[in-house]
Each structure stands twice: as structure tokens, then as C-alpha cells.
């Protein structure tokens, strides 16, 4: 890590007042004091922070620098002179950088993440992870595109992101949701104040042959306040206080967790336009299915379409047969969510309640489709029960 940009980033991080409640805000206040060359004040602030959060290791590192600066000029951030495990020191430096960058680079008020096109009324919140910034954003649903209401520092996999296989110590990139809230008493201290598994590998991961399991959102052991940005075996790790703050937002089975390389921010209008174009495609799919004109219905599916069991040809044969046999059919679609898949171009996970009635079979199910834009048209590339 280069020293100059690091120090510049740390010193520039002064948007937040020192009286802010979170330890991160207070750390930012310390850097603010350092930036203003008020070193005594910085030391007082860091002492107070450590008093309240004795396990905040990064704060101890900053304190070390402030004390050492009284005896000699510092050569680097975290100017530890004796031989220490390099990755530990580097981890703290990276944490400092991640935290202070996040403090400085706040998303503009009028911007929303491009990933969340629509949540259904029952989904109160969504979580989005910006891997590059080691940041988790909480979005609130309520009229128009969901907006950021809080954000937290997170630790991700030791080996980065884009998990492919078991044991690669990477955090998956994709659209997931929380599947459980594991009771604390069943967890060891390692997981801190709670654990929320997500559904990795999802349908798309499995289709691409990705494997592994046990990707959770969880807390930290009691002897640390937080962990370096890249330290987990693939899980998304939050400080216990932060996990406690996020937990009330989580609805098991409902709350989406989108993990992206980087959050793309867009205007609410742009997101709404995308949402509308996809919603219209979904509605055409519904009415075309109801029309029992199987070819019009099949036109909504990409030649690359595949279910968990069938390829396009086999599936189309089956549909031609089944749909043609119906005297009438009605399809109801409700509680729709639309989440743009990170890393893939124009690729959206659409989940909804499907109420299918016909003179033969009737069923109600929660369905998931993956839509992709091909030649300017939205097409379905996967569908199955959610």
C-alpha cells in the first residue's frame, strides 16, 4: 500500500463531526484533529475512544502513532518499528483506509443503488455490499426506489470476492437473501452477536457449477471490535454493535442481500425507467401465457434458457403440449421484486407470487426468474420455484 494516498485519504476524512456516536465517526474525528495539527486533542479523543471500545485495535494503532510522534517523526501510518506479522499491520491499515474512505465518499443524497429496481410491499429492507469499499448499505423500501438509510464497515473473504468453490475463502458475488436467524446460544463466540445465513449457492451459481456453503452474515469474537477488510472465510462480518443495528432490518426469507464488486449509483429516475421496462416485459409474459398462444409465450424465453432439469428444447416441447391442452388458464402475478445481478450485464432476478389457475391444474407458488436483455428485449433465461 502506498503511503501518500493512504495518509491523504485518512486526513481528508473529516466530513463527520467528532461527537458522532459510532466508533468510526469518532475515529474520523481523531483524524480530523490530526489534519488540523491538534495532536493533543487527537490523543485525548483516541484515549476516550479506547476507553469506550478497548477492543478497537485500529484505535490502538492510531494511538501508538500519536504517542510515537512525540518522540520522532513518523515514517508511515502504523509506524510499528519492531518485527511484527506484516499481514496484521497491513490489515489494520486497510481497515483504516476503508473506514475513512467510506466516511469521506458518501453517496450523493439523490442517488440510489442501481441494483434494487423493486422490492415488494412485504420486504421492508434490502442489504447491499460494496466489496471494493468494504461497506454494507441498508436500503429502506417505501415509495419509489429504495434509499440508503445506514451503512457499515464489513469484512469479506480473505481471498476477495466471486466465490467459485468450497474452501476458496471468497465471498460470493450475486443476489441472495437471508434464509435463517441462527439462535445465539447455538453459536460460538467466534460469530459474535448473531448469524444470518444466505442462500449461496443460488440457482445461478449452481447453473455455473459454483459450490460451497455456509455463507453467513455474522458478528465478531468478543476480543475484537472489528476485523480487517479481507479476513473471513467468505462470510460477511460486521462489528457486533453494527450487526445488532442491522438485525432488526432483517426478515428471514425476505430480505435480499446483494453482494457487488462495487455499488453502481444512479438517479431515481433512471432506476424507475429500468424497472418500468422490465415490469412491462413481465406483464406481457403473463398475458401471453394466458392467451394460450404458446409461440408468443415461448418468445419471452431466451434460447439459452434452462431450468434445473431441462434445456430449452425439452422444456419448450413440454410447454407446447401442456399449454395446448388447456381449455382456459389464468395467471396472477403479485408481490414482485426485481434485483439487478451484479457483474452480469442487464441481468435481473425477478421473484413473485404466481397464482396459476386452469381447467386442469391450479397452483400457487413463489417463482423466481432470471431475466436478461438480449438484442434490446428482456428474455427469461431461468425459472423455477423460489
Amino acid at each position: 500500500m502506498r503511503l501518500a494516498p493512504l495518509l491523504a485519504a485518512l486526513l481528508a476524512a473529516s466530513a463527520v463531526s467528532a461527537t458522532g456516536a459510532t466508533p468510526e465517526d469518532r475515529l474520523s474525528g481523531v483524524f480530523q484533529s490530526i489534519g488540523a495539527n491538534r495532536l493533543d486533542e487527537a490523543l485525548k479523543r483516541i484515549d476516550a475512544l479506547i476507553q469506550d471500545h478497548p477492543n478497537f485495535h485500529l484505535a490502538h494503532l492510531v494511538r501508538g502513532d500519536l504517542l510515537l510522534a512525540r518522540t520522532r517523526p513518523l515514517e508511515t501510518f502504523g509506524n510499528v518499528t519492531k518485527t511484527v506479522p506484516a499481514e496484521r499491520l497491513e490489515g489494520l491499515r486497510e481497515e483504516a483506509l476503508a473506514r475513512m474512505r467510506a466516511q469521506r465518499q458518501r453517496p450523493a443524497e439523490d442517488r440510489v443503488p442501481r441494483h434494487v429496481l423493486q422490492l415488494h410491499a412485504g420486504q421492508h429492507h434490502a442489504l447491499i455490499v460494496d466489496s471494493k469499499r468494504s461497506r454494507l448499505y441498508v436500503l429502506a423500501n417505501g415509495g419509489g426506489p429504495p434509499r440508503v438509510i445506514a451503512d457499515y464497515y464489513v469484512t469479506l473473504g480473505k481471498n476477495g470476492i466471486a466465490k467459485v468453490r468450497e474452501g476458496d475463502q471468497k465471498t460470493p458475488v450475486g443476489v441472495y437473501h437471508v434464509t435463517a436467524d441462527l439462535p445465539r446460544r447455538k453459536l460460538t463466540d467466534f460469530y459474535g452477536s448473531g448469524a444470518f445465513p444466505i442462500n449461496y449457492p443460488n440457482e445461478w451459481d449452481r447453473r455455473l457449477g459454483r459450490n460451497g456453503h455456509g455463507i453467513w452474515l455474522h458478528g465478531v469474537p468478543s476480543d475484537v471490535y472489528s476485523r480487517p477488510p479481507r479476513a473471513s472465510d467468505g462470510c460477511i462480518v460486521l462489528a457486533n454493535a453494527d450487526l445488532d443495528a442491522v438485525a432488526p432490518f432483517i426478515q428471514v426469507g425476505l430480505t435480499p442481500v446483494i453482494i457487488a464488486d462495487e455499488v453502481e449509483w444512479a438517479s431515481a429516475e433512471a432506476v424507475e425507467a429500468e424497472r418500468r421496462s422490465l415490469a412491462e416485459a413481465l406483464e406481457r409474459w403473463r398475458t401471453d401465457w394466458q392467451s394460450r398462444d404458446t409461440e408468443r409465450y415461448l418468445a419471452h424465453y431466451s434460447p439459452r434458457f434452462r431450468t434445473a432439469r431441462q434445456d430449452y428444447e425439452a422444456w419448450a416441447r413440454h410447454k407446447r403440449k401442456a399449454n395446448g391442452a388447456r381449455g382456459w388458464l389464468e395467471v396472477g402475478v403479485s408481490r414482485v421484486s426485481m434485483l439487478r445481478y451484479p457483474r452480469e450485464r442487464d441481468f435481473v432476478v425477478v421473484t413473485f407470487d404466481q397464482d396459476y389457475r386452469s381447467d386442469g391444474l391450479s397452483s400457487v407458488m413463489r417463482k423466481r426468474q432470471y431475466w436478461v436483455r438480449e438484442d434490446g428485449h428482456w428474455k427469461i433465461i431461468y425459472e423455477g420455484a423460489a
Binding site: 490502538h60 494503532l61 494511538r63 501508538g64 502513532d65 504517542l67 510515537l68 518522540t71 520522532r72 511484527v84
Partner: protein
């Protein structure tokens, strides 16, 4: 890590003589001998005998800070830190302007791993005497120690760190370092007069009331002080030492060669030095003697100190102004 050997050497050098205190104390010679004898015994490692001497001296003068201080040092060396802490603490209460007892309290606290207490004591020591070098050196070491401790905590290496516990310098005498005279002035005021006032105080008058003095004399004095600060800042030791008169009163009455050697190693040993003189006040005393008080901001690659300093300068036969006395405060 700062090099402690230098300051230890300074202390040992200081041991040869009695220090300014003895010169100032107007007590009977026998008392001075007693203390001197105790110091000799201490230096020879004969702690018990030294303690007996000091106790005998204290029986006659129970409040005497010099003897009490020495007793604290002896007890410290004997490992009786509990009693030593008591003595030094009492001294800081009775003579709050003495920097040395704070320093030694800090040394003991540091040796017990109580770094925050040590830091508080040293900062107090420096508050009493902003140019007290030993306290600065110790504080520098202590900050480094605290920094190292903080780093260990940051990196979770703090499992009873057995890495060489660096000892701070215990001061064995009061009145060493750059501020002996000023230190002496208060605690012994019943029996002595501060040395600075001793030579014909009635002759001292502000420059304005002394029309006989050459009008540019104070300008010359100031020029000299600035040149002295410049030589010091340039780490030009020869030029710096040339500013001191032949009869310069070395701190603690240290022999001139030893003092020069100490200064040389201290100044040449620093990577950078900056001495800034501000708010100088010149008081002319006739046309051959001047007292200059000013704020001195000293800054090197390892220490920073700001405080008041007073220089007494005398005009030599060839017309040059030279420093005869130097004191902090």
C-alpha cells in the same frame, strides 16, 4: 528507541560534584559533608551505610529536601520502591516546583509498568521546568514505550510483553540539568538567597533608567543571544561553546571540560535542532553585564520544549558579550 546511555552518563558525571544545591545551602559545613559522604557511599554501592548517613542528617534537618531526595534514591536502589514513592510524593507536595522528584516517581512507576502514571509525573516535572532535559528524555522513552504498548494492543501481541523493559533514568541528585539555580531558589529560601540575586542586586536597573549605558548595548546583547541560538540550531558546537564566558557557571558546578563534552555530544548527536528566541527582555546592569529573559522554543528530531530562559551575559575585555549564567524559568 532513545538512547539512555547518554543521560546515564550525564548523571554519573554529575555525581562527582555536589550540585548547585550544596553551594547554595548556607547550612553548616558538617551537614554538607554528611550528604556528600552519603552520595559517595551510594556511588560505591554501599547503600546501607549511605542510608545511615542520610538518616543521621535527616535527624538534624527532617525537612531538608536534598537529604530526603537522596534517601529516596537510596531506597529506590535498594528496591524499596514503596517507601521511595512515599518520599518522592511527599517532596512533590512540599516542593512542587522541584522537577526531580516527579522524574524519579515516573521512573519508579514506569519500572512497575504503570506507564500512564509515569507519563503524568513526567509531564508534571516538565511543567515545573520546561527545559528539564532528563524529564524530556525520560518522557520521550515513555512515549515510545506507550506507543509500543499501543501497537502491541493494535496487533494483538500484548500477551505479557517480555521484550526488554527499558529503564528510565533515575535522577540521583536535585539540581542537575539546566535548571539548578532556579530550582534552588524556592525550597531553601529561608536560609539562602538565589544565586542570581547575590551579586549586588541594588545595582540592577532597567536599561531605560540607565542613560549612562551605551544606547546600542541591548541591541548588541540581543544580537549575541540570536547568534548563540543560531549556532545551536546549526549544531555548530564550536561557535555555540564560544558564546560561553570562561567563568561560565556550569550547571551543578560541573567541571567545564565535562560540561562541554556533554553539550557537544548532545548537540552533535541530534539530527536537527531548532532554537527560536522570542519576547526577549534585556536588563542592563552597568555596561558590562546584562540579563536577558526570553521564551525559548527548542525543537530537535527527538524533543520539543518551550519555556522561559534567562541568560546573564558579561562583556569581556575585547568587547564581546558572553554567557556567564544560563537558567530556565
Amino acid at each position: 528507541m532513545l538512547d539512555l546511555t547518554a543521560s546515564r552518563a550525564t548523571l554519573r558525571r554529575g555525581f562527582v560534584s555536589l550540585g548547585a544545591w550544596a553551594l547554595l545551602a548556607a547550612g553548616p559545613l558538617a551537614w554538607g559533608d554528611e550528604i556528600q559522604e552519603a552520595q559517595k557511599l551510594l556511588r560505591a554501592g554501599q547503600h546501607q551505610q549511605a542510608l545511615e548517613r542520610v538518616n543521621r542528617s535527616l535527624a538534624a534537618k527532617p525537612r531538608d529536601p536534598q537529604a530526603r531526595f537522596l534517601k529516596g534514591v537510596i531506597l529506590t536502589e535498594q528496591g524499596n520502591t514503596k517507601e521511595a514513592v512515599e518520599i518522592f510524593s511527599r517532596l512533590t507536595q512540599d516542593f512542587p516546583d522541584l522537577p526531580e522528584p516527579y522524574n524519579n516517581l515516573a521512573v519508579i512507576y514506569a519500572s512497575q509498568g504503570q506507564y500512564e502514571r509515569a507519563r503524568a509525573a513526567l509531564e508534571q516535572s516538565i511543567r515545573t521546568h520546561p527545559s528539564y532535559a532528563t524529564a524530556y528524555e525520560n518522557l520521550g522513552d515513555l512515549y515510545a514505550k506507550l506507543a509500543s504498548q499501543a501497537y502491541d494492543k493494535a496487533l494483538q501481541l500484548d500477551k505479557t510483553n517480555k521484550a526488554a523493559q527499558k529503564k528510565l533514568s533515575l535522577v540521583r541528585e536535585i539540581g542537575r540539568g539546566p535548571a539548578p539555580v532556579a530550582v534552588a531558589a524556592k525550597p531553601v529560601s529561608e536560609t539562602t538567597k538565589p544565586i542570581a540575586e547575590a551579586p549586588k542586586p541594588e545595582a540592577r536597573t532597567p536599561v531605560a533608567e540607565k542613560p549612562a549605558a551605551p544606547s546600542d548595548a541591548s541591541g548588541e546583547v540581543l544580537k549575541t543571544v540570536n547568534a548563540w541560538a543560531q549556532a545551536w540550531s546549526n549544531r555548530d558546537v564550536d561557535a555555540y561553546l564560544a558564546h560561553y564566558a570562561k567563568d561560565f557557571k556550569t550547571p551543578g558546578g560541573e567541571p567545564r571540560p565535562a560540561w562541554e563534552k556533554g553539550r557537544r555530544s548532545r548537540i552533535a548527536g541530534a539530527k536537527t535542532i531548532s532554537v527560536v528566541v522570542s519576547e526577549p527582555k534585556v536588563i542592563l546592569d552597568g555596561d558590562k553585564r546584562a540579563t536577558v529573559s526570553f521564551r525559548q522554543a527548542y525543537r530537535s528530531d527527538t524533543f520539543r520544549a518551550t519555556g522561559t530562559k534567562t541568560l546573564v551575559l558579561v562583556r569581556s575585555a575585547d568587547g564581546r558579550w558572553q554567557i556567564q549564567e544560563e537558567k530556565a524559568g
